[in-house]
Symmetry: C2
Amino acid sequence: MLRIGEVAARAGVSVRALRYYEEQGLLEAERTPSGQRRYPESAVGRVRFVQQLYAAGLTSRDVLEVLPCVHTGVATPAMLARLAEQRDGIDRQIAELTAARERLAEIIRIGEQYVPGGHGPSEEAVDACRPAASRPAAEALRPVG
Amino acid sequence: MLRIGEVAARAGVSVRALRYYEEQGLLEAERTPSGQRRYPESAVGRVRFVQQLYAAGLTSRDVLEVLPCVHTGVATPAMLARLAEQRDGIDRQIAELTAARERLAEIIRIGEQYVPGGHGPSEEAVDACRPAASRPAAEALRPVG
DNA sequence: CTAGGACCTGACGTTGACGTCAGGGTCAAG
DNA sequence: CTTGACCCTGACGTCAACGTCAGGTCCTAG
């Protein structure tokens, strides 16, 4: 059985975070007679999983909805629906991130092309800043006005 | 020239958000003699771009660091470095999201497999909750304790 | 037995991106 | 000329996931 500090260190989070997770019902702990928390090794993996879901934009409540699969080992249809919903949400996020990434990457490509020479503003660079959908407009993201 | 309400509607954000962007230096506006804001069409695209970067986890300050490419049309080496940094951050996020997504997807697959029958907890379902790295441990994410 | 590092429970502070309310101008239509 | 939708500037409220501080307990090495 691990003490809270050990779990925190192994999972790469703060002690405060673990107490917060308990508060939110995401992580239980046994208690010693004196009231100190004791965790099984499994807690480390669980904390990492929670962190992963947080990173995916889920809230504590979302995670709480999704975690029961852990206890029952099997999902109800309603839970499956929620799981699928969260998965789809993540898919949407990935799509958005990919779009944003591409946009930055294009700005970088064009920037790298023009910086060496060091000459003035390039239409292409400005162009890269515009949303793909409105490229023809040739206006977006240039100095407003 | 668009009024603030129109820009907000077209970009799918609140009027308050636009005023906030101005406060953060992310979006300028001309003013009518009476002090009302007027935006060019380009503002809509710009707002969408800012939203996209927010969705990618950038803060207002991050966006502010990245936006100047818009004004100069070309990036300084320092700016290119920041852009690359943000792009790499997004890449890391995408990787994490993909991992989280896969984990949820696996839970769903196994859940779908066992729910129809409606019998008890399945080891596989529990297994899917564990981090791939610690699969051999066969402990993580089961009822803690 | 004692020092000090780890742990405990409140409970208030923080940060970012807005929401919301108060109190008051603006302006096209009827 | 008045009504009602839209706009303005403060300025305080919100929510999540913790950070941090206070004041006290536990426990392990020396």
